[in-house]
Every structure is written in structure tokens, then in C-alpha cells.
Amino acid sequence: MAEAAETLDYASTGFVIICASLVLLMTTPGLALFYGGLTRAKSVLNMMMMSFGAMGVVGVVYILWGYSMSFGTENLGVIANPFQKFGLAHMEPIYNSFGYEGYGNIPELAFVAFQLTFAVITVALISGAVADRVKFSTWLVFAPIWVTFAYFPIAHMVWGGGILGAAGNSISGVLFGATDGAADVAPIDFAGGTVVHINAGMAGLVLALVVGTRVGFGKIPMRPHNVPLVMIGAGLLWFGWFGFNAGSELAPDGTAALVWVNTTAATCAAMIGWLLVEKLRDGHATSVGAASGVVAGLVAITPACGALSPVGSIILGVVAGGLSALAVGLKYRFGFDDSLDVVGVHLVAGLWGTIGAGLLATSTGLFYGGGIRQTIVQVIVALATVVISGVVTLVIALALKATMGWRVSEDVEVSGIDQDEHAESAYELATRGGRIGGASVPAPARTNVSDQSHDLEGAK
């Protein structure tokens, strides 16, 4: 919190609120459509509900203690005091987290709104690793516990003044020195390569291992049931991601413009990179590949988008697309069922983007004559995130396995999780006859109607 003028900057305030709304669009419907299209027809509703469910639970938890734990000013080491701003108490009317001169004054509530959406999508991202087979109740219990013990602490460590951030007493500051309470070689994570993507990717890997493979994994085809949904979802993710990345500047200035361009440059290049690998390896450039390349590029540029040149972003992107296209095959080799490639896309591209930022940053990057120190710092924060996220997720996942249990029964999984968990099916592809009843419908009178209803029964 810097000393700032007493007036709000309305341009920045509007910018942040709109960007927060864009990030919300990424989860619902963007990610829900992307993941929903990638699953089989019998489990699309459950897949989309995991995103919606994450939104519901995490939105509430963030307001109660999440924001205070991540960005409260009472630093307790790995977290800030959850009770200091519990329920969004003591909000500052004017908040200027980067201490901009003459602009950037926003209400603290606008910053809360923006950060809330990040917590929501991080949890929703994890769901892709355990598609088709997880109890919805267990998922809804996992979400608040995981954000509390994995997301909020890491957000605090990276962005809230903790040990993975830019403060003088952070790991980087201790390692390479600090001036005036700020690390000389500050870690670069502009919009959440560590906090969001490495974190979610690692959690996805752990969950996939703890929960186990789907019935028939690697033997029976589990094809995406609706590729146009995947394309729409990826497009909405891209659109919302401008809020995610450019919004992280918290002001509509030159850096925000650079971030927008870099985000586009890397994403376009990553799509091409992925398609090139596919064409060479499989003989076809595919639609799902294009959509996945887009996401891989967005993930990789997320940490780096404020520190690279547009050309550097193209390089970062094309490598991200190629790497992720190669990485999605790993699950078959190692036998873990990361159903929708949270590891292959988010963990791999997140690691590459975070470390690549150390190579390609125009000010301190290795390839720009900045020496090796930035890259070392980037590797440290990336690996620290991997370890913290992995250990915390493992403990939570095993605890839930022992208590509630993760998986639906094999019968339910084979016949389709939507029907059993939600009592719904996504598509009515054939008339199946039957009768109507339930809580809100009065029982049909026992009249001659029942004679006619025979026409409907058993029609198959």
C-alpha cells in the first residue's frame, strides 16, 4: 500500500471491474464448455457442474476468509491473518497496490473482485484431471479445503508479500540481495503462472494419481463428445484471458497494452506450434489440437506477459504449444489418467512460461544479457510451487479418500455419472417414454389417462 492521492481513478476502477468480469467468463462458461466438450456425452453435465460448483463454493469462501488470507496486511509467514479482513471487513476506499504515481487508485473491493475470480478458475481447472468418475459431494468439499490450504497460501507467498514474492525478506531477496525492502531480482509472475497454473496442474496430477484411472482407460476410446463446444470454450477462455493478464496490471496503461499484445502473440504462436507437432507426428492438424494449443499458449504467457517483448512472446508461445502437444502423450506412457490433460497443458506450459520468463525477459532475462540470476529465481519459485501444491493436495486427497471417498461406483461410471449424480442427462437423443411425477408435480389422477399412457410405456 503506497501513499496515494485521495481521489479514485475511475478509468482504472472500470478497467479492473470489467477485467474481473472477463475472468469470470473464463470459468463459466469458457472452461465449463471446453472441458464439457472434451468429455463423453454421458458425463458432460457433471464436468460442467464441477466448474459451476467451484464457482459457487470458492466465491463464498473467498469473501469470508480467502481474501484476508491472501492479501491481508497482517503477515503470518506463509499466510496473512484470515480474520483481519474476514467477510471483507476494513476495506480501503482507495487502494493502489503498485503505488502508481497519479493513477491506479481503485476501491479495494474492485481488487477483491478481480482476485476472487482467479481463485475460482484455479479450482475449476483441476477438475479436468478427474473427469467422469468423482462424487460431486466430495468435489464440493475438496474445493474449499484446497483453496484454503493450497491456493491462498501460495497466492500470499507470490503476490501478497510472502516468501516467493518480491519483498526483501523473500527467498529471492535472501539469495541475491535486497534494496530498500525489495528483492534485487524479483520473481516474475505477472498474472499467475505459479499461483494458478503450476498450482492447478500439480494438484491435477496428484488427484489423478490418488483417484485412479477411469474404467477402461487406455483400452476403450474416450473421445471428446462435442468438438464445437471445445472450440467455443477455448475461444471464450482466450477472450476472458485478456482480463486475466492485462487486468493484472490493475490500470489501463502502457504495460496493459503490452500485455494484451503479448498474450495474443504467444497464443497465436502456440496454436501453430501445437498444430505443427500434430501434423508431423499424427499426419493431421486437428480442431482439438488448435483449441488445446490456444490454452497452452495462454498458460505459458500468463507469468511472462508483462516482461517480454512481442517477439519474445512468439518464441515463448511456439515452444509452449509444441511442448504441451508432446506432453499430453505422457499419461498413456506412465499410466495416470489425467483425463483432460491438466498436467500436459497447465503444469507443463505453466512451468515453461515461468522459467521461460527468466530466459526471455527484456530487462533481466538470460537471452537479453541479464545473466542467469533471473532464471535461477524463476526455477526456484516454480519448483517451490510444485512441492507445496503437491504435498498439500496429497494430504487433502488422501484424507478425503479415507473419509468420503472419491469415486462413484464402477456401474455408475460406466452407465454415466450424470444420471446418477445429478439425475439428469445432457441430451435427449431418443424418446424413452415414461411418466412425470416428483415433488412439484401432483400425482396424475387415476382415470382413463392411464389407458393412454400405455402408448408411452415401454416404447423403445
Partner: protein
């Protein structure tokens, strides 16, 4: 009476239907079918994982005909359905013991 069953390429259906109408056939039953012959299936790739699809979508067309017409109807279908490429399908004829029209109760040839 005979039942002529034809498994054909879906996009040949209109041509076969028109040819049968021109021949004088007044009704037919059409359904979606899946299967394979010597053509086998095809493969698709999703994120590098190749899925072999064994069954190819086809259209099944069934026509009830008088004994005398069966052979001609087969010829009509053959001519209209043939593209000369692999996967054109098959046509076969089965004997039918009895037919009844639901609306009127007519039986046998009258019901065709």
C-alpha cells in the same frame, strides 16, 4: 412376398429412393445402421491418441415386394446405390410369410 434389405452409403439414399419410386414402389422403411465389411473402419486422432472406429455409418433400407418384383427391385437398388468405391454396401432378399396392414387389416400381397 419378399423383403429386400439394402445396406447403402447414407448419401446414396435419395438416389435409391427416387429410383424405387420411379419403379413404382410405394413405401419403404429407412433406418440408420452401423457396420463394416471388407472396408473396415477409419481412425481419428484426439490430442495424439488415435482411436480406431470399427463401424462405419450406413443406411438400411427395407422394401416389401411381390415375389415377381424382387429381382428387379434389387437391380434398381444396385444401379442407384453404386459409386464403384469401397463401402458401397450389400443388398439381400428374404422370404416373407405374411404381411398385414394395421389400418385396414388387409393381409398378404394386398397389404404391401
Amino acid at each position: 412376398m419378399k423383403l429386400v434389405t439394402a445396406i447403402i452409403k447414407p448419401h446414396q439414399l435419395d438416389e435409391v429412393k427416387e429410383a424405387l419410386e420411379a419403379f413404382g414402389i410405394q413405401g419403404m422403411t429407412v433406418s440408420e445402421a452401423q457396420g463394416y465389411g471388407r472396408q473396415r473402419g477409419h481412425s481419428e486422432v484426439y490430442r495424439g491418441a488415435e482411436y480406431t472406429v470399427d463401424f462405419v455409418p450406413k443406411t438400411r433400407l427395407e422394401v416389401l415386394v411381390d415375389d415377381m418384383d424382387a429381382s428387379s427391385v434389387v437391380d434398381v437398388v444396385l444401379k442407384a446405390a453404386q459409386t464403384g468405391r469401397i463401402g458401397d454396401g450389400k443388398v439381400w432378399v428374404t422370404a416373407v410369410e405374411d404381411v398385414a396392414r394395421v389400418r385396414t387389416g388387409e393381409r398378404g400381397v394386398e397389404a404391401i
